[in-house]
Symmetry: C2
């Protein structure tokens, strides 16, 4: 890890820069896949399943029977862990429910705001070496709580045409209504446009590789909403002498094992802690199953030794981390001054992995600095807030002159007329 | 207006189709402007001010003295109307404040969610024949309530290099911190990248012409968040025999005067009402100052006579109108079954113009069917919800096994290790 001691704040932007995301190269390929899915529907999905996943699919949808069988095969210890995590996630997301708002602004002028579920949502769950069933929990649980009517899940099949058992287990547990054997850009196209088997969705959620990311971005321009822009995962740890170097090192490594493009950054006001963390990272790295991957990623990671607590906080706000671990004495005092982060982990016994799986918060969070403007996925992400106004004749009499004056000043005569005609008689 | 009687539901999608938005033609031109602003900053803005607005600007920012003078020139009646509208908008948006959430999920596992303001926001206010000061209220008031630190407003100058007095009046009233004399794609570029005079913003809000719309879309891909995709304004009215044909006609016309690409749709179960509204539209059209514009737009508008109340509601949900007027007996029973709309106007005395200006709700709403997945602008639009978790040693002891089991099943060894090392001793 590279240690920067007292870097000039003028250089922070450069030192905190994320890896550039290069999408231009794959964009034409993604566009071709999307066009193909739009034109050929299921047939295109089956063809891509053969070409890209090596699977001969007869049916794109997972059958209830397949799910029944998958459920029985899941290790009971894992099943129990998933159920407990789901329970925590459910409770914290249910607590986010908006009760609605009603305000009589003036006598006879009542405004309301209510949350209404998005009707059809699409969830993408990546395939790859290990089944990311935790993502199913993070997306499907709030969708079900919100009251979405159709919850579609797409995930790439393996060579035998199956989706991993724990994903199917989690999907059933969380109320997914349709599971589709499709991955990559073609899955995003299917959920954006609809096919014979896949309903057109209103909003698409979830992480994925570069193809998925570019596809989500392209379809978001005119066809469907998406959760947020995506980038590689990242963590920043703020730590002082009250932190435990072993824990900090473990947190940096748990980010690093995601792969070489993920970032792990430590900001500290303690040179001693910095060097102990560096040693601990080297020591712990030896024992990890993914040590090759983590070593590559850790080589890109950075330690900043800054002059005081205030600089740590400024650095955190400048970076706007997806995950921010606050291992400082009086951590809440610092957390209260954080203006940009996806999710914040307070104190020495709150590893990022707690939020990744089971504390109850969502792990689908803004990366690449998007935390300055985006929230992580939460219950609101699956709803819209609709406003309502109800005005009585008396209310309009009070408000009418204001509306007419403003409308006429904006040159909108008919807007004024719509008030006048109601108050004429 | 074209009347469709009992259209086949299979044809609804076609009959409710919005005008296609053709952006490919202007996209290269917008890209060139954005590149220019990114490269040349203020200098490019001044050059475009000369070329496109015909203004020779010596300073891009409106000075406090200019605002002082503008404020004194605003007609006191208009000033008073703006203040009253601002007061209603302020009260309804202030009522939307999120108090924060704290939940102890398990003993020693505490999750929190809080709203944190976006630090720097950019508001776009179009120029054109009339100054749209109402948009200033709708964007700046919630930004100030949210606690945004920098509220930048861009609006095109007139040929003398000035922004209209009521816009400056509203901007000062609502706490805008910087007013920039720039419009079009160049203003969006300035707020996306920053220039010498214009701060880089985190999120850009507001309506605009096709150049502005395309520019917002392009910068949203990698540089800055935007409020929502934009399209022409639209209204749908649901009316039965309890409605007043004169009022319905006035509401359709107040939408139509926005221009030929805006849509006004009536769905009713009463053939009698349909024909009376048609006659009323013709009659009222004669008296409007913008009758030419409105006539052109009304020619594209449609009346659907459907068989019953349920079909009206289904049609409204299929269309997902920006503005939905419910002029039905028992209007709330119907409104409760609406799953997609930007803002809903209840009863015979609630014209759309009330919400456009002064009822307290926001008028920046999802168009073009985006109401299926987007909310209108509200207080949340200027904030992010950050989650926090704080786990005690005892809490981690309870949760640790769940996290480890799940992490190992996902092949993420270091995630499990970050828990294990904390519980080792």
């Amino acid at each position: 890890m590279h240690i920067y001691t007292n870097p000039d704040p003028a250089q922070w932007a450069e030192l905190l820069r994320r890896p550039q995301i290069e999408q231009a190269v794959i964009r034409p390929r993604v566009e071709a896949i999307l066009d193909d899915v739009r034109a050929h529907g299921d047939w295109a999905l089956i063809r891509y399943g053969r070409q890209l996943d090596g699977a001969e699919l007869t049916d794109l949808l997972v059958s209830p029977r397949e799910i029944d069988q998958a459920v029985t095969r899941v290790d009971p210890v894992l099943a129990d862990a998933i159920r407990q995590a789901a329970d925590n996630i459910e409770r914290f997301h249910r607590a986010q429910a908006f009760a609605g708002l009603e305000l009589e602004v003036l006598p006879g002028v009542v405004c309301r705001q209510r949350s209404v579920p998005i009707q059809t949502v699409g969830l993408y769950v990546p395939g790859g070496s290990a089944p990311l069933f935790s993502t199913v929990l993070m997306l499907a649980i709030p969708a079900r709580i919100a009251g979405c009517r159709e919850i579609v899940l797409c995930s790439p099949p393996d060579r035998r045409g199956n989706i991993a058992d724990p994903i199917l287990f989690a999907a059933r547990l969380c109320g997914v209504t349709k599971i589709v054997k499709a991955g990559g850009a073609q899955a995003i196209g299917a959920m954006a446009y609809g096919t014979e088997s896949v309903p057109k969705t209103d909003k698409i959620f979830g992480p994925g590789n570069q193809y998925v990311t570019v596809a989500k971005q392209l379809v978001s321009l005119s066809d469907v909403a998406i959760d947020m822009p995506a980038g590689p995962s990242e963590v920043m740890v703020l730590a002082d002498d009250s932190a435990d170097a072993r824990f900090v090192a473990a947190d940096l490594l748990s980010q690093a094992e995601h792969g070489p493009d993920s970032q792990a950054i430590l900001a500290t006001d303690s040179a001693r802690l910095a060097s102990r963390v560096e040693q601990e990272v080297e020591r712990q790295l030896q024992h990890l199953s993914r040590s090759g991957l983590a070593a590559e990623s850790i080589a890109n990671s950075r330690i900043f030794v800054v002059k005081d607590r205030q600089e740590m906080i400024s650095l955190a706000n400048a970076y706007a981390a997806e995950h921010l671990i606050v291992s400082l004495h009086d951590p809440w005092e610092a957390a209260d001054r954080i203006t940009a982060a996806g999710s914040i982990f307070i104190g020495n016994f709150t590893p990022e992995s707690a939020g990744d799986y089971a504390s109850g918060t969502n792990h689908t969070l803004p990366t690449h600095g998007w935390a300055v403007s985006f929230s992580g996925v939460n219950l609101d992400s699956f709803m819209r807030k609709i406003t309502y106004q109800e005005i009585s004749r008396r209310g309009l009499e009070q408000l009418g002159e204001v509306i007419r004056t403003m409308a006429l000043a904006e040159g909108l005569d008919a807007h004024a007329h719509a008030v006048r005609i109601r108050l004429e008689e």
